[in-house]
Amino acid sequence: MKDNLRFSIDYGHLIFLIIISAWVIWYWINARSVSTSPENLLIIQPVSIGILILAVCILPQCFRSADIPDELKPEPLSTVEFLKIVAVMLAMAGLVYLMFTVGFDVGVLFFSAITTIICGERRPLLVGLFSIVTTLVIVKGYQLLITFPMPNLFL
């Protein structure tokens, strides 16, 4: 009996579930604030209620994470692996920022160099060569393909 009361909280899943529920509640309230007409809430209201009910049903799994089936447990993730993933996410955000503020070429050059290093390439010559070739091929290739302007600093 004592064993049944032991909690093992999966904070990651708990935070994720809270964020999902918070967004659903915000969206539902936002839609209701626009209009309570059925033409506005026909889908949003029932789906929001459904998700919130399901979230409540899932919630206990966050507190009893050791007892859930193995197939529902998150894959083990080392700190280094987690930091690498976060670094690539940040590099993507940096790429988008640089593309539209400095130039597509500069963004691609930095992103390809940084991400190649994050993913395990340690030879500076190869990192440099790969970044330059990638920048030239992708930026020039897309310039030929798409009609939208692509501001560049060098190319």
Partner: protein, 495 residues
């Protein structure tokens, strides 16, 4: 109906205009290349090649454009299998089993199966079109909001088959997708969830969102891996295995035929298109399969179902275009533009007066499907080399191409930002076993589901049994009930 003398004239015309055939292989090759480029849609590929046809004679121009259409239709499945990025939205369901097959080292078989299903699906759909172009067009005219709502509902049921290990988490993912699909201004004019961002008025752009959910998020999870396929011996390119995959289509002929029928019917409905038929065909195949649990884990039956659904949509879409002058989607709208450039107005009078020309186009499309086999096999052989590229180079390249592809869809920052946000969401969802694929289905169909539900409600004035007055609606709802009932009955039987 079918006109034998017009068919003979058409065959004679095809035989005597050999020079027009020269445009088929370049057209297919261009289509394959553009279709395989993430973010470059079939419509964009055809719009880019449309100016090239200005100086061609009418027949060459149309044959070149339809060849691009045929090539791009299959091209989308290549990145879907190899890197989990659907080259076009019509290849979303192809990723569900194609990519798991690639990760298991069965990329050759998956690409071969996709090619086989695409070719045979298209051939069947164009053959049906040859005999039934007018009846199909008549049927399309009768499609109203009730029938469209039925199609959307049928698609939504797919979420139930994509739930993965936890049904609760699967439905949360699908529901979230539906809600995200309703962001922006709805058909009546209500604006929800935009946070005053003008780019969200038209809703969340589906292509960047699905690329983030399916592809980038997967790549983020591979930053510490060395290759897409762990087993070095499985990273081979094998023509024999590609052919084995191609021939697997004949082992799953019932799945293939059902997917083709779904594709023809859905493809003919204006504005619905191959992205919906791809999803519907996959979900139908999973529901009826003897081994539904193998779906999503890398079964060739899933690839065949998905590809037969989207490729056969081409024939249905072409029927509406030729017989009614209504484009089934963006790509057929470009074909209409090419007709207009040569002062030809398609529609009922075109079918009546130029039946021979209609047959020329259909027969040529059938021939293009057969020519796609060798061209596609060569393309697959080179494209498959991607599995030999170390991930430390592949991840940055694919992420950059994805972001550029998103920029290419609408030419502003919104697409790229959407991709980044949905990459993070997709990675978190995959980590905690909320299937991103269920969210993609909800996202793709959420807007359509809401729009058609509102239109049906307005038309019926709140009468819940209004659909009984529409034979098409009744047929669709019976089909949905029968299909769902059958899968539930089968589930109980296996238990």
């Amino acid at each position: 109906m079918f006109d034998m003398s017009a068919l003979l004239v058409a065959l004679n015309l095809i035989g005597s205009s050999v020079d027009t055939w020269l445009w088929v292989v370049p057209g297919i090759a261009i289509g394959l290349f553009f279709g395989a480029m993430p973010g470059i849609s079939i419509t964009m590929a055809m719009a880019l090649t449309l100016p090239l046809t200005l100086y061609m004679d009418f027949l060459s121009a149309i044959i070149f454009l339809t060849s691009v259409y045929t090539g791009a239709g299959y091209g989308g499945s290549v990145p879907a299998v190899l890197i989990n990025i659907p080259g076009t939205s019509a290849a979303v369901a192809t990723t569900f089993d194609g990519y798991p097959m690639a990760r298991k080292g069965m990329h050759n078989e998956a690409l071969g199966g996709a090619l086989g299903a695409s070719v045979i699906g298209s051939v069947i759909s164009y053959t049906v079109l040859l005999f039934l172009v007018v009846p199909i067009a008549d049927l399309v005219i009768k499609i109203g909001p009730v029938e469209m709502f039925g199609v959307a509902l049928w698609g939504m049921l797919m979420i139930g088959s994509l739930t993965g290990p936890s049904m609760l988490r699967g439905f949360v993912a699908g529901g979230l997708g539906v809600l995200i699909g309703t962001i922006g201004m709805n058909t009546v004019g209500f604006i929800r969830g935009t946070m005053d961002i003008p780019d969200l008025l038209d809703g969340v752009s589906p292509i960047p969102a699905l690329m983030g959910l399916l592809a980038s998020s997967q790549l983020l999870g591979l930053v510490s891996a060395k290759f897409i396929i762990d087993n070095e011996n499985a990273r081979t390119l094998s023509a024999a295995k590609i052919m084995q995959g191609f021939m697997a289509v004949f082992q799953h002929k019932v799945t293939m035929l059902r997917g083709t029928i779904i594709g023809i019917v859905i493809g003919a409905a204006p504005g619905v298109g191959a992205s919906v038929s791809n999803l519907l065909s996959y979900s139908d195949a999973k529901r009826r399969s003897k081994d539904p649990d193998s779906f999503g884990k890398g079964t060739i039956e899933g690839v065949i179902a998905a590809e037969s659904g989207n490729s056969s949509g081409e024939g249905g879409s072409m029927a509406t275009t030729l017989a009614l002058g209504i484009p089934g989607g963006g790509a057929t709208a470009v074909i209409l533009a090419a007709f207009a450039m040569h002062n030809i107005v398609v529609g009922p009078s075109f079918i009546d007066k130029s039946k021979d020309m209609v047959y020329v186009l259909i027969i040529n499309n059938i021939a293009q499907c057969f020519i796609l086999i060798p061209v596609g096999l060569i393309f697959i052989f080179f494209a498959s080399s991607i599995v030999k590229v170390p991930l430390k180079y592949l991840i940055p390249t694919v992420l950059i191409i994805s972001i550029f592809g998103c920029y290419a869809t609408d030419g502003n920052t919104a697409g790229a930002i959407t991709l980044c946000i949905f990459s993070v969401i997709g990675w978190l969802m995959a980590r905690y076993h909320y299937p991103p694929s269920a969210m993609v289905v909800g996202l793709l169909l959420g807007g359509m589901f809401e729009t058609e539900a509102i239109k049906t409600m307005q038309l019926s004035a709140g009468n819940m049994f209004y659909f009984l007055e529409r034979p098409g609606g009744v047929a669709l709802f019976i089909l949905i009930l029968a299909s769902t009932g059958y899968s539930i009955w089968k589930k109980f039987q296996t238990k």
